[in-house]
Amino acid sequence: MFGAGGGTSSYTEVEETDVVLLWGSNAREAHPIYFHHLLKGLDNGAKMYSVDPRRTSSSKFADAWLGLNVGTDIALANAVGREIIAAGLHDTDFIAHSTQGFEDYKAAVEQYTLDNAEEITGVPAHAIRELAHDYAGADTAQILWTLGITEHHNAVENVLSLCNLALLTGHVGRWGSGLVPLRGQNNVQGGGDMGALPNKFPGFQDVEDPVALAKFEAAYHMSLPNKPGLHLTLMFEAMERGEIKGLYVIGENPADSEADVAHARKLLDGLDILVVQDILMTRTAEMADVVLPAAVGWAESEGTVTSSERRVQRVRAAVSPPGEARCDTDIIGDLANRLGVDWGTPTPQDLWDELRSLSPLHAGMSWERLESEGGLQWPCTDLDDPGSTFLHGWLWADDLEGRDPAPFSVCHHEGPKEQLSDEFPLRLTTGRALDSYNTGVQTGGYASPIRYGAGIDVNPADAERLGLSDGERVRVFSPRGSVETSVRIQPDIPKGLTFTTFHFPELVDVNQLTNPEWDPRSGTAEFKAAAVRIEPITKEQPEQLTPSTDPATKSANG
C-alpha cells in the first residue's frame, strides 16, 4: 500500500501512544521484549484492545478483549471503519490531502453495520463501537499484528483492511501512530529487505522495473530474469506438477512446518535431488540427498539482521562452528564458484558494502556506523542520515513529497476457506507458546520448566459435551488427516474453538491437520483456520503416535 514493506514505527513509540490495537498477536509470548515496551505504554496510560479469537496472555493486559470468530477480521475492521465514518470521527483533511479511493471504501463498508458485524464476528456491537471511537478519537494510536492476520487465505486483504483504518484516522506517518507487523524471526524483515522475495531486488526494487533490472544486471555482470520467481507455496505446486525437480533448502524445515504436511513430505520425497543447508539434522535434512552443515547465524557467523523496527544490527561469531559446519555465505559462495561463476571469497563486510551500493535505503549504513551506533533504522540514505524512527512522514507533507496519495483498499469478508460441518464441527487454530519456537528444532535443546508440551486446548463446555476430561488422550481429525494428542481444558478458549502449538511435530504432527489453502498474493497458507473433530480414544482403537519421549528432554533434532 505504501511501498517498502516494513513496520512503520519504533518500539519506543508504543511507550508514548494513546491507544493500541493488538490484533491477531499474542506478543506477550511470541514477542516478549516488544511487549515490555507495550507494557510501558500501558503504565503510561495507554488503552489497549486485544482482538484475538483466544483470550491470550496478552489479552489479559488489555482494557477490552474482542474475541472474534476465526477469520472474521475484515468484517470487524470494516465495521470499525463504518462506525468511524458514521460517527463523523474520520480525519477529513487527511483523507482529502493524503489518500485516494475514500468514496469507494465508504460505499464498500456501508453494509458492515455494528449489528451485522456482531452477527459475523461474534463480538458485541457495543465493543466494536467503543474500539472505533477510542481509536479514531486518540491523538496517537497504533495497530500491531502478527500471524493471526497473515496466516489466512486472504492475508493481504486482512492487512489492507487494517491499513484502511489508519488512513481513515491519520494514524500513520507520525510519531506514536502507525502500523506495526511484528516479525516472527530475527531476520524475516532483513530477508525481504535483501531481496529474498520472488519479485524484488534488494531494497524493495521491483524485478519488473527496467531501470532497476539494468542497475542490478550491471552490478552483477549477468543478465537476470525480469519476471517474478516463485514463493514457497508456488514452489510446492510446481513440484506437484513435476516442474521443479530439485530443491536447495537453507535454514527451513518444510517437512515439519508446511500446512498439510503429509502431502508436503510426499512432494519432497518425489524430488530428483534435495539439498539441505542447516545447523541441525532437521526432518527435512534427514530426507536430503546432500546435507551442507551450516554455522549458527547469530553465534558462529558475522553479518547483520534487521528487526521489526527496521533496525539493522550486527550479529557476531562468539564460538567456533562444530565439525565441518561453515558460514552460509561461504557455502553459497563456494557453490557458485563450483557452478562456474567466480564470486571469489567476499567477507560479510564486502557483501554489505555491495548491498549499500545498490539499495538506497541502506546506503548510509556503513559497517563502522553499525558497529559504533549499535544499529540503524532504514531508510538511511547517506552517512549523515541518522536513520528513520518512523515511516511515511510524506503523508503529512504539503506536496506529499511528489508521491501519489495512499490508496484505500476495498476488502470484503469471506471467512475461512474451510467451513465447519457436521463431520468437522470445531475450529482449530495454531500458534506459539512462550518457551518454544517454530518446529522445536532449536528450543528442544533446553529444559524449560514451563513447557507444557503438545496438547489441544478445548473449552470446558465443549469438553463436557464431548465427554472429555483434562489430560485425556484423543484423536483429532481434519479433512486431511488425524493426530493423537491430549486434551487440555482451557476456559480462555471460546466455545467451538480449539488451539494447539506446532512446536512438537515429533509428538503431535499438527500440520497434518492444517489447511494448505493459501493467499495468492502473499503465498501464506491458512494455518489459523482448519475444521476438526475430536474423538476420545477407546480401548478398541490401536494407539498410534503415543509419545515415548518427554518433550522437555528430547533431542534437539525435532
Partner: protein, 286 residues
C-alpha cells in the same frame, strides 16, 4: 518526546556541577566523575532506596540521604567522601557482609577494600553474627536460589514486576531476619507464576539468584571469569532484535546477558533469549 531542559546547579565535593532538573544526586556524581557504590540501584530499574550503600551528606539535611533516590536541587551542597559518609558506607557494608555471603558480589569487594570494611570483626569467640545458612534451592534446570547471598535489595522483585516483566512471581515475605524473596505461598518455582525470563538473575548483584549452568560450573571449579569473552550479537528467536551478550569460556557459551543501555532490551530478555542457546553447543550438535 519532549524533555524539559531546565538545569540545576549544585556543588559536589567542592566542585560546581550542572545537571538537568530531575537528575538524581547519584547521576550528578557520575557526571562529575565521582563513583558511588550501590547494591539496589540499577540503570534499568526504578530506585527502591533500601540498601543505604550510596548515602551522601547534604548540607542542611539531618540524616544522610540515599543519592539514588534524591533529586539534585539548585544550590545543594553534597559531600560524598566526608568522614560521616565513609563511616556509614563502611558500617553498612560490614553489617551486610556479616550476615550475607558477598563472595560473588564482585563490585562490592572493591568498595569494601576502599572503605576498610571488615565483616569478620563481628565474629567474636562467644558471639558470632547470625547467618541465613540455607541450602540453595534447586527446583529446575535453569535457576538456583541461594538465600545465603541475598541482601534483600529488591532488584529481582522490581524486574519481575513493574520495572520490566510485569509477572509479579516474587515478593518479599516475612519480617526482620526472617524476610525472604519468595514465590506465592513459597511454592516451588516451576509451580509459581514465574515465566523464567531470567531478568531477576540479570539484575541480582550478589549471585543469590543464578543460572544453574553457572552454579554447576562454580561447584565443579570450572567457572573462570578471567578467561571469559563477551560477544554482543542478536537473538534468533523472534523479530524484535534483542541484543545478547554471549559469555564464552573454552569456545563454549556459558551465560547470556543483555546490555542495560540497549534501546531494545534495556537489559531484559525472555526465556528463549536467555536459555534457548543450548542447542548450539556440542554434543547436541556434531
Amino acid at each position: 518526546m519532549t524533555v524539559t531542559e531546565v538545569s540545576v546547579n549544585l556543588t559536589i565535593n567542592g566542585q560546581a556541577v550542572s545537571v538537568p532538573e530531575g537528575t538524581s544526586i547519584h547521576k550528578a556524581c557520575e557526571s562529575a566523575g565521582i563513583e558511588t557504590p550501590t547494591l539496589c540501584w540499577a540503570e534499568n530499574l526504578t530506585p527502591v532506596n533500601v540498601c543505604r550503600v550510596c548515602v551522601v551528606e547534604v548540607e542542611g539535611s539531618r540524616a544522610l540521604v540515599p543519592s539514588c533516590a534524591r533529586a539534585a536541587e539548585d544550590e545543594m551542597v553534597v559531600q560524598t567522601d566526608s568522614p560521616r559518609v565513609r563511616h556509614s558506607r563502611k558500617m553498612v557494608l560490614e553489617f551486610l557482609g556479616s550476615s550475607v555471603d558477598l563472595s560473588q558480589a564482585t563490585e562490592l569487594a572493591e568498595w569494601m577494600r576502599h572503605y576498610g570494611a571488615d565483616p569478620d570483626r563481628y565474629d567474636q569467640p562467644d558471639l558470632v553474627a547470625e547467618r541465613i545458612s540455607e541450602e540453595p534451592k534447586i527446583q529446575d534446570d535453569l535457576y538456583i536460589r541461594d538465600y545465603d547471598k541475598c541482601v534483600l535489595c529488591y532488584k529481582c522483585v522490581e524486574a519481575c514486576g513493574d520495572d520490566a516483566q510485569h509477572t509479579y512471581a516474587i515478593a518479599v515475605s516475612g519480617r526482620g531476619f526472617g524476610a525472604r524473596i519468595s514465590t506465592e505461598f513459597d511454592t516451588v518455582l516451576p509451580d509459581s507464576a514465574c515465566v523464567y525470563c531470567g531478568n531477576c538473575i540479570g539484575v541480582c548483584p550478589t549471585g543469590a539468584i543464578q543460572f544453574k549452568t553457572e552454579f554447576d560450573m562454580r561447584a565443579a571449579g570450572e567457572w573462570r571469569p578471567d578467561e571469559q569473552d563477551v560477544t554482543t550479537t542478536v537473538c534468533s528467536f523472534c523479530g524484535v532484535g534483542c541484543n545478547l551478550e554471549l559469555h564464552t569460556q573454552d569456545d563454549r557459551i556459558v551465560k547470556v546477558t543483555s546490555p542495560a543501555d540497549h534501546s531494545v532490551t534495556h537489559g531484559h530478555l525472555c526465556i528463549k533469549g536467555r536459555f534457548g542457546w543450548q542447542y548450539v553447543q556440542p554434543p547436541t550438535r556434531k
